[in-house]
Symmetry: C2
Subunit: 342 residues, 2 copies
Amino acid sequence: MSAISRRLVLKERPRFQIPTAKCFRLEEVVIPNPGQGQIRIRTTWLGIDPNLFSKVKKVSDQSKPIAIGSVMYGATVGRVDISNHPDFKEGDVVHGLWGWQDYHVCDGSGITKISDDGLRPSYYLGALGAAGFGAYLAVNEVLKVNQGDVVFCSAATGALGQIVGQLSKLKGAMVYGAASSDEKCGLAVSELGYKDCFNYKAPDFERTVSDRIESGIDAMVVSAGGKTFDATFPMMNVGGRIAVCGLMALYSMSQLPVTPDRSFMILNEILLKRLSVRGSMVLDKLNTEVHARFMTEMTSWIISGKIKPVEHVIEGLENAPNALRGIFDGENLGKSVVHISD
Amino acid sequence: MSAISRRLVLKERPRFQIPTAKCFRLEEVVIPNPGQGQIRIRTTWLGIDPNLFSKVKKVSDQSKPIAIGSVMYGATVGRVDISNHPDFKEGDVVHGLWGWQDYHVCDGSGITKISDDGLRPSYYLGALGAAGFGAYLAVNEVLKVNQGDVVFCSAATGALGQIVGQLSKLKGAMVYGAASSDEKCGLAVSELGYKDCFNYKAPDFERTVSDRIESGIDAMVVSAGGKTFDATFPMMNVGGRIAVCGLMALYSMSQLPVTPDRSFMILNEILLKRLSVRGSMVLDKLNTEVHARFMTEMTSWIISGKIKPVEHVIEGLENAPNALRGIFDGENLGKSVVHISD
């Protein structure tokens, strides 16, 4: 065990929309020791989530970005290595929100022990974390996906999309998706429950989607926006439901495109087709009854093999900033997690 | 009784979006006589509805406009003057969908007798017709307006808006609206249940709205779109609900405005504020349980004076085309109805 703890500090906000490695600085500090009633956690995994974006850049009046010079933080998994707290013992595997750093000292509040169910601890950052819960809320609560529904999900092989696909199929729906390469599309079909998946970088993407989803779309999960949304929104069936869970394409825009303003067309489609469009954020539902139900159900689906989470593992704390950039560039296949230590 | 029956025939589709008087031709024909099992109706009132627009111009793939040379038709009230049908007798007041003409002969299907409740028969074209039902669906079914909600309705003094205001107030909500003149705004406040109403033609409209609805908006009825929507959409509170019931401002556009495309901003607001946006059309709910409940409740509210429908009466069949144009120009104060005969 080294005598220093490394940590990533926010050095500057991104000039353009996507945070790059130069926004962060790797610092070394003496490993902190826990005081009375405290625990020390050795960080093992960091979760790379799109919402980390709002921690480095103000995206709305509601978002409070972290201060320049502060340690970057997010969903994290670790192992207790010293405990002066009655509820924790050395070796406990825990998850929570803490810094992008090797060691974290705290009083244990907001830290949850991971039950000994044999699942990979990193799943608590993905399929059992915000992405999985977001997919669960979208499919089960917002869209109420049912047997026979035609579902579309943008970013089919992303952290959220991979669960949307598998979960919708579990509900008896027919699921279509989009991804950024033929390879990813292949995986979506072979592993993630998708009936078909379309490469949105292909020149004939829009026509392919409209040719191959003959029956139109009953329910849609929007996580990316952009080209995929433009191609599929006109294909919604009368009475269709849309869950807006994320807009990664928007984050990477530096300005609105100067094209005819289609906001009215969107409202007009909503009217003519009696669509129902709802924003969904996991934040609102953490620690509620539905969250408890999700944890129980998702754990059993993973154990039984009904849902198989795919992970994109990046090695080393120092590579976390590039991992964050990578999810906006679509580099990940499945949930992006950074491996810090064993 | 004259020996001729006048009728308005669609001569040509509007070159630009709004139908004008020159799109119609007034014809004279011999008054038709009913055959065995038929009735003849003397038209007394025509209802002027925004959806008549889709009868003269194709607005979507779903809409089937009437053929050039055919008689224009819409929601209508009349009195049976000859009956060869066992279910109808001379003097029965009826409503239904038939031509913009003095006399109508039919076999009685789709024709509904108006109960003898002492209400103005023309109310069956407004407060008890599509506009009233649209307002009822929006307030009760889509938005589920409750005590203490802050509600906003564009076109406060229009056929739908006047009922939205009164109905929302009845539910204990605080209702704000917009209209095209200070005079209309005054009426919205004094007669239609609005707490405040803003002239959307005033240069400081946007600022006034944001200054005076301090608590933000919980529930919104969109019937116009355009400037009013632009000013109020950013004021939606977290968890807010929007019912899209009409987009009159869109109908009068000849092309989409070439400004930055805000469709993403709309999706982003839906996401960040977890809004719920739903299209609502009365068509889907006619002759359902909720329609029967609406008829019973609205009738009793009107009889008891809890809801006071406002009508904008235009005299003479020949003026129906101008009345149709008028609702797009905001000439009406309340529900536009054309008086054909007593």
